[in-house]
Every structure is written in C-alpha cells, then in structure tokens.
C-alpha cells in the first residue's frame, strides 16, 4: 500500500480510554490525512497535515487530535474513546496530485 503503514490494524478498547493510531510513510509526501469510513457516510476527513507541525481540522474532528513531529509520522489520538468512534480509520498521503491510502485500522469501542 504505497509505502504507508498503519498500526495497529485492529484494536478493541473500552469507552473512556485513550487510543492512539499511528501512520508511517516512506514516500516523503508533504500531505497526510486521517479519514474514517462508516456505512452510509463514506469517507470523512478527520484531520490533515500539510507539513511538520502544520495540521488542520477536517469535517469530523471533534473528539480527535493529531500530531506530526516528523514528515513520516502522523498520529491520531482519541482522547477518551466513545462508541460512536467505532469505525475503520484510514491514513492517506499525497504529493499534491492524487492520494494513496493505508490498509486501515479497524477500531471497536465497547
């Protein structure tokens, strides 16, 4: 998947616990994104980054934070997970043309 590694691939957690998902790229692309994909909603942008320490909110950013301290790593944190955050999370990267996606993280919040 285009030099993008997401970890973990699967996670089950309990409501109220913090969760961090990691995205690592080897393509040296400037732009990185976190999406969630849910039935009936398609892909929705959570946060994105256009460079180290430069991030911005997407359409569904409430309850999520991100950090990008290095070009290759983009972390997504759920400060206090809720059941509504059960979803498949995709990291994506772009050189400004098209977007390449990771394999996804299946997160279940019980």
């Amino acid at each position: 998947d285009a030099g993008i590694t997401q970890s973990p691939r699967h996670k089950v957690t309990e409501t109220g616990t913090p969760v961090t998902l990691r995205c690592h790229q080897t393509e040296n692309h400037r732009y990185m994104y976190w999406y969630r994909q849910d039935p009936g909603h398609g892909l929705r942008l959570i946060h994105y980054s256009y460079g180290v320490k430069d991030t911005d909110k997407g359409e569904v950013s409430d309850g999520y934070s991100v950090s990008r301290s290095k070009t290759e790593d983009f972390l997504l944190t759920l400060e206090s997970a809720t059941s509504s955050q059960t979803s498949v999370y995709f990291c994506a990267i772009s050189d400004g043309k098209w977007v390449s996606f990771g394999s996804g993280t299946q997160l279940s919040v019980l």
Partner: protein, 114 residues
C-alpha cells in the same frame, strides 16, 4: 457534507459486460478523481481528470467530465471478476491546495459475476 454522489449505489453485471458509474457534484472543482476499494482494503487511485478536460482513458477505464452538468462518469469496459469492488469519486476544489481536502462520494458497489 458529501460533494460527490455516485449513481447507482450498487451494480451487478456479468463478466465481459461494460460497467458505467456516475458521479455528480455541487460546487466548482479543480479536478475529479476516481478510486477503487477492494473489500477490507484502502482506496486505490484509478484516474484523475482536470476541470478543463472532457475525457480521459486509462487501459479499460474511460472517464468523462461535464462541468456544465457537474457530473462525471466512469466506464469499465470488458469487465472481469477482479473488477468487483467499490468505486468512489472525489473532487478537489479551487483554492484547496490541490488535494488538501478532497470531497468524497458514498461510492458505487460493483459486482462482476463470472
């Protein structure tokens, strides 16, 4: 809010037939892109068409864009079972820094039966 809306939501055809999917959008765009998603995997880029282009080909794929109607179509010719997947359109808007914030449709689920 979703910009792209694919039509139909689901499509089932026989191997060898052509498959056509449509995407409509609401605002001005810089480009429109089509992606494929196999079950349980991430999306894979198929083709990009710019707002000043009307048609583009890539192998068995043909994409058209009609900016006056704010619509695009993806044609897959001589379909194969391996084409079974969900297909998504995404639009890049002017001033949005290329693909900083693509707007995605809900997808068309294509089943190609052997």
């Amino acid at each position: 809010s979703q910009q792209g809306e694919e039509d139909p939501q689901a499509l089932s055809i026989q191997e060898g037939e052509n498959a056509t999917m449509n995407c409509s959008y609401k605002t001005s765009i810089n480009n429109l892109q089509w992606y494929r998603q196999n079950s349980g995997r991430g999306l894979v880029h198929l083709i990009l068409i710019r707002s000043n282009e009307r048609e583009k080909h890539s192998g068995r794929l043909r994409v058209t864009l009609d900016t006056s109607k704010k619509s695009s179509s993806l044609l897959i010719t001589a379909s194969r079972a391996a084409d079974t997947a969900s297909y998504f359109c995404a639009t890049g808007s002017p001033g949005a820094g290329n693909n900083r914030k693509l707007i995605w449709g809900l997808g068309t689920s294509l089943a190609v039966n052997p």
